[in-house]
Symmetry: C3
Subunit: 204 residues, 3 copies
Amino acid sequence: MASGYLLLVADLIGVAVFAASGASAGVAKRLDLFGVAFVGFAAALGGGILRDLTIGAVPPLAFADWRYATTAVLASVAVFWLHPRLNRVRRAVLLLDAAGLGLFTATGTLKALHAGVPAVGACLLGMLTAIGGGLTRDLLTGEIPVVLQRDFYAIVALGGAILITVLDRLGVTGLVPLVTAAGLMTGVRLLALYRRWSAPVAVP
Amino acid sequence: MASGYLLLVADLIGVAVFAASGASAGVAKRLDLFGVAFVGFAAALGGGILRDLTIGAVPPLAFADWRYATTAVLASVAVFWLHPRLNRVRRAVLLLDAAGLGLFTATGTLKALHAGVPAVGACLLGMLTAIGGGLTRDLLTGEIPVVLQRDFYAIVALGGAILITVLDRLGVTGLVPLVTAAGLMTGVRLLALYRRWSAPVAVP
Amino acid sequence: MASGYLLLVADLIGVAVFAASGASAGVAKRLDLFGVAFVGFAAALGGGILRDLTIGAVPPLAFADWRYATTAVLASVAVFWLHPRLNRVRRAVLLLDAAGLGLFTATGTLKALHAGVPAVGACLLGMLTAIGGGLTRDLLTGEIPVVLQRDFYAIVALGGAILITVLDRLGVTGLVPLVTAAGLMTGVRLLALYRRWSAPVAVP
C-alpha cells in the first residue's frame, strides 16, 4: 500500500520532469500555450503510451488515470510561465531527469515482463519507455532525436533494463531491488554527464 | 437506422475534407501521386487510427470499413488533379474543415467514453481524433505541426470534448446533443478564424 | 515445418536488409552507435510493429521473438563498422531490398487477412508492412519519406497485396503462391529500378 503510493509519487515526479523538458523545447520553438502543453504531455507520456499499446494494456495509463495527464499539463504550463527562471535550476532538472530515466526504465521493464513479454523484448520496451517521450518531443519540434545523436542516455536505460530482467529471472523481486536498479541507472547517468561519456560515431 | 446512416455520411464528409487538406500539403511538397494519396489517407484517418488503437478497437475503422479508405483516397486523387482550382473554393474548404473538427471530436469523445475510458482520457482522445490527422500530415511533410504553433483549433476541440463528456455524464445522450455540440464547435472555430483568435506564446 | 523454417530465414534476411538501409541512413546523419542501431531496428521492424498493433497481435513479433531484434541490431552494427565498403555491394543491397519488399508485403497481407481484416484493409496493411520501416527511418532522420516523393516502390507493394488478397479469396493458399507473388513483386521492383519508372507528380 505505502510502497504503491511511493511508486506513484515517484512516477508522477518523473512525468513532471519529462513534461518540463518537452515544454522547454516547445517554448524554444515558439509554440503557443496549447503546443507547449501538448509537447510536454507527449514527452512525459509518449514512452509509456507506446509501451502500453505494445503490451496490449488499453487504454494506456496516460488516458486511464487522470493524475498522469494532469501532472504533465500542470508542469508544462508552469514552464510556459516560468521558463526564464528555469536556467537557474538547470542542475536540479538534470538530476531529476536522470532519476526519471532510472525510474521509467525500471517500471517499464517490469510491466513488460509481467505482461508476458520475453526477456529481449522486455529490455527493449523498458528502454523505449524511458526514451520514447524524448523521441516524440524531438519529432514534434522538427529535430532529429538527440538520443540518437550523442549522449550516454539510452545505453544507460538498456543496461538498466537488462539488469532488472536478470534480477527478475533470478526471482529477486519487490521494491528494494527495483529502487536499487533505478538508483544505479540514475548514478551512472549523472556520472556520464559529469565525465562527458559518449557512444562512438562511425568514421566517414 | 436513419440516424446511423446520417452519421456515416457526415463522417465520410469529414474524411474527404481532411484528406483534401493532407493531399494539398502533399502537392505543395511535390510528392508523387502515391505520396499525395498516402498523406491524404493519414490526414483523414490518422486521428481515428490513434484513437482506435488506444481504446483497443482493432482493427481500426480505417482498415475495417473500406468506405473510409476509399473516400480518403478518392478525395486525395481529386485534389491531385484539381488543385489549381482549389483556391477558388478555399472558403468552402475552411467551412467543411470546421465541420470536420466538430464532428470528429464529438464521435471520438463518445467512442472513448463508450469504450470505458475515464472522463479526462476521453476528452484527450476526442481532441486527438480531431487533431491527430493534421499532426500526422505535418510530420510526414517535414513541418512542425501547425496545430501546435498558432491558431485556435485544438482548444475548440478540447472544449467541445469536455462539453460532450459533461453531457454524457449527465445522461444527455442521442443524436440531437451530439449534433448540437458538433455544430457549436464548428461555429466557435469559424468565429475564431473570422476574429483571428490565437493562444498565447511564451515571452522569450 | 521445413516451409515454416524457410519462411523464417527469408523473413530474417528481409529484416537484415531493411536494418542495413536504416543503419546506412543513420551513419550518413552522423548518429552514434546507439542511434544507428535504433534506426536500423526501426527500419527493419517498424512496419511489422505497426501491422501487429493494428491487428491486435500483442506484443508484436519484434518484441515477442528475440531473433528479429537480434538480427536487426547485428546487421546495423555491421553497417556501422563496414559502411565504407558497402558501396561495392550496392547492387546486392538493392536486389535484397526488392526481395524484402516482396516478402514483407506477402507475409503482412496474409497476417492481416488471417486476423480477420477485410480485403481493402488487408491490402493497405500488407503495403504498410513493407513501407512502414522506411517511413520510420526517414522520419527519425529528419527527412520527408522518400517513398512518398518518387520511386516505384509502394505501388509495387500495393499491387502485390491486391494479388495476394485475390488469390487468398479464390482459395489459393500455401507456400507456392506466396513465394510466387513475392517473387513477382521483387521482379517488378527490379524492372522499375532498371527502367526508372516513377509515379506522376502534380503540375504546379
